[in-house]
């Protein structure tokens, strides 16, 4: 599953595989646009500036979070489309023309005279553009909301990133909201509303990390990202003022892929958070989440040696847990997150699904790891925001004891700035600048040493 809603690989752990190819391929895969963001369609509907719902779009403000949790409704009895001008059509698009520079210190290249494989530092730069998102979202009637998001990569290949309808405030209670379809998990730190756009810094490492099997052997075949939109049903409840939020989801175990391609398994995702006021500093929020999933390890039936979609069995489990805090000191805020992951040993060593049950290699362990994120912002005013993020992933149990203890460890540092020259209730426009660099221990394709990638981007991010 893609990281930013494009159907192409944007995440570095995908790159853990992809980087073993060439940076040229990387460039093709770069820069799709975020799959959820500010929706000027809402701003137009309610006549409110972007800054009401977004501290800096696409990052939500507490008011915007409440609006979202309430089913894209203000609750002022003008939410139903029957109150809108009949010509109103809730559509928004977003795209980002840009210049960017990509560099990888050890990309795989042909050896001398085309013999064997070698590594080289590969750097490229030039003008480009992101993918395109078409957001359609809003209410179908009072307390019935929807979201349909066709999203493309920058070649114009579309897929559906979100497709859901939601029954809001069932029986008049804000604690009873049910969403059905493909949707973003109830992540407080929303990857779909990430403020950074580069290939290296445009996603959350911890949301997509999968451990390497061994030096030179990338992650297992199963694909999962807590930042990926998933398919299922979600119950969500919140207090009227949105200070307390809880949710639970039942999801198909296919990482949001359509057509039931793998198994008949189900996953669960649970999240809860509580906000509180701390004097004049602002609204603080703490919370936690857990994803309990499973994935198949082989196919029950094959045809001509190929697994028949939907017949994956031999499910093995994986878990992701996290604690998050969002701390505000007036115009400065910092989000802190602790992350823990664990994969079943068989699952972590299954490199391809076949028609036979896999046997985990001798000595294989269930890998575990811990992660941390620190993302800070300084919001000068609604028009200018500085962004900094540091993420790390540390393996606590390698798949094999013979692996280097730090194999696959990740560090990523990102700096960004967004300036919105105007704030209106019609469209969004931002000058975006960003630099991000990451290091994966032992992930270079030939020498199995550290892989360092960096991105530099200057672009114009706009939606209407």
């Amino acid at each position: 599953m893609d990281v930013r809603g494009t159907g192409v690989v944007g995440g570095r752990f995908r790159l853990g595989t992809t980087l073993l190819g060439s940076i040229a391929l990387l460039v093709v895969l770069l820069f799709s646009c975020s799959s959820a963001s500010a929706l000027p369609a809402f701003a137009r509907k309610y006549g409110m500036p972007c800054s009401s719902c977004h501290e800096a779009w696409p990052k939500l403000s507490p008011f915007g979070q409440q609006f979202k949790d309430n089913g894209y409704q203000m609750g002022n009895d003008r939410d139903a489309p029957i109150f809108q001008n009949p010509s109103y059509w809730p559509v928004t698009f977003r795209i980002t023309p840009q210049w960017h520079r990509e560099s990888t210190n050890k990309a795989q290249v042909d050896g001398v005279d085309g013999v064997g494989a070698d590594e080289a530092k590969v750097t490229t730069h030039g003008f480009d553009w992101s993918g395109l998102d078409f957001h359609t979202a809003g209410t179908l009637a009072n307390n019935i909301s929807f979201y349909v998001l066709p999203s493309s990569d920058n070649t114009g290949a579309f897929h559906f990133e979100s497709v859901w309808a939601r029954l809001d405030n069932i029986a008049g209670s804000s604690w009873l909201n049910v969403k059905f379809g493909k949707f973003e998990l109830d992540n407080l730190l929303s990857e779909k509303r990430i403020l950074t756009l580069t290939n290296v810094g445009g996603f959350y490492e911890n949301y997509h990390f999968q451990p390497m099997v061994a030096p030179g052997v990338p992650e297992a075949s199963y694909s999962f990202g807590i930042g990926d939109n998933q398919v299922g049903i979600e119950w969500m409840g919140h207090s009227k003022d949105d200070r307390t939020r809880v949710s639970a989801s039942l999801l198909s175990s296919n990482d949001g892929t359509p057509g039931l391609p793998t198994s008949r398994g189900y996953d669960g995702f649970f999240a809860a958070s509580q906000a509180f006021q701390l004097g004049s500093l602002g609204l603080q929020r703490v919370g936690g989440f857990a994803y309990i999933g499973e994935a198949p390890t082989y196919f029950q039936y094959t045809l001509n040696g190929t697994g028949i979609p939907g017949t994956g069995i031999g499910n093995k489990g994986f878990q992701r847990y996290g604690l998050i805090g969002m701390w505000y000191i007036k115009k400065f805020d910092i989000t802190t997150m602790y992350f823990h992951g664990k994969d079943d040993a068989t699952l972590a060593t299954t490199l391809a699904l076949t028609g036979a049950p896999p046997t985990p290699p001798t000595g294989a362990h269930s890998p575990t790891w811990n992660g941390a994120l620190f993302e800070s912002h300084y919001n000068f005013n609604p028009q200018l925001i500085l962004i900094n993020r540091y993420e790390m992933v540390r393996m606590s149990q390698q798949v094999f004891s013979t692996n280097p203890g730090n194999l696959g460890n990740v560090d990523t540092l990102t700096f960004g700035v967004r300036y919105y020259p105007f704030i209106s209730s019609r469209a969004g426009f931002a000058y975006h600048g960003e630099y991000a660099i990451s290091r994966i221990r032992g992930a270079s394709p030939v020498t199995l040493t550290d892989l360092v990638s960096s991105s530099l981007l200057a672009g114009i991010d706009f939606d209407f």
Binding site: G47, N142, I144, D241, Q277, Q383, Y419, S424
Partner: protein, 287 residues
């Protein structure tokens, strides 16, 4: 190709930072319980949340004003609908604070409950910088709300009589649907058409949901609208009777008053006759 004008961008950045300073140069405070709001902090919030409708100068002429009905509040005039103070006087800080938290139904003004109490107190302080009235006048003394008397059929029936006697029906209609004979002629203080409250709409009134809120509306009036204060013509016990009767007009909104009213043959017949069954429109307003 057009060159990027970095100097212009730099100026824009500076202006953006300075924009909030352009309005409300005077300092104000608000006091709500233990909270003290500060206008300088409220200024930042105003230029994040409010100016699109209320405008940079607080005169209700924001960029959305042409498309917003009713028009956004003009803070320069400092005339406020929902008060606990007598008509014509300034509201208490807590009145504005509660309005921000509650929002106004059937307008574009949402509830700002998601903000912190401090945020709302700061906004109240900043709103007060727009009008010189806040420097030259003090808020009125809040009206006293006597304890609500015991609900009786007699109270409801007396309220029904008062509804006729005070000619509430002229605007609100005999059935409380906001369609009285004068309804179409009403305008607000901006000379904009305004519709009387439809009690049958099953929605909260602008100034709150409780019986106390309804009582306050009679006694303070809704300044800036044709709804006058009845403080000089209605005794407190009469006002409570009127409250009890008005609750029976909310046919689809269960209340002790409606239950008691439907418990009488007269009330049951009236309510049954007025209830309309038709297709649900999805508006949230029950037919």
């Amino acid at each position: 190709m057009r060159r990027i004008n970095f100097a212009r961008i730099a100026v824009n950045v500076v202006l953006a930072a300075a924009l909030p300073l352009a309005a409300g140069a005077q300092q104000m405070e608000s006091h709500i319980g233990n909270l003290t709001g500060h206008s300088d902090a409220g200024r930042q919030l105003y230029f994040r949340y409010c100016w699109g409708c209320h405008g940079p100068h607080g005169n209700g002429m924001g960029e959305n004003e042409p498309w917003v009905t009713p028009q956004p509040r003009n803070f320069v005039a400092a005339v406020f609908k929902c008060r606990s103070t007598p008509t014509g006087t300034l509201p208490l800080d807590s009145d504005l604070f509660n309005t921000l938290k509650r929002g106004f139904n059937f307008t574009n003004m949402p509830s700002w409950a998601a903000l912190t109490d401090q945020n709302r107190a700061d906004l109240v302080a900043f709103i007060k910088t727009f009008s010189p009235r806040w420097k030259s006048e003090k808020p009125g003394d809040p009206i006293q709300i006597p304890p609500e008397p015991t609900l009786t059929i007699g109270s409801i029936k007396h309220g029904q009589e008062l509804f006729q006697k005070l000619e509430c029906w002229k605007c609100h209609g005999q059935e409380g649907r906001g369609d009285g004979p004068s309804a179409s002629t009403l305008t607000d203080s901006n000379d904009q058409p305004i519709r009387p409250y439809d009690f049958t709409s099953d929605n909260r009134s602008k100034c709150g949901r409780t019986n106390q809120d309804l009582y306050k509306i009679f006694m303070t009036g809704v300044d800036g609208t044709p709804m006058p204060s009845f403080a000089d013509v209605v005794k407190p016990e009469d006002a409570w009777d009127l409250v009890h009767f008005l609750r029976t007009l909310q046919y689809n909104n269960p209340s002790p008053e409606l239950t008691m009213w439907e418990g009488t043959p007269e009330g049951k017949a009236i309510v049954a006759a007025k209830r309309v069954k038709q297709t649900y429109t999805g508006s949230g307003v029950k037919p």
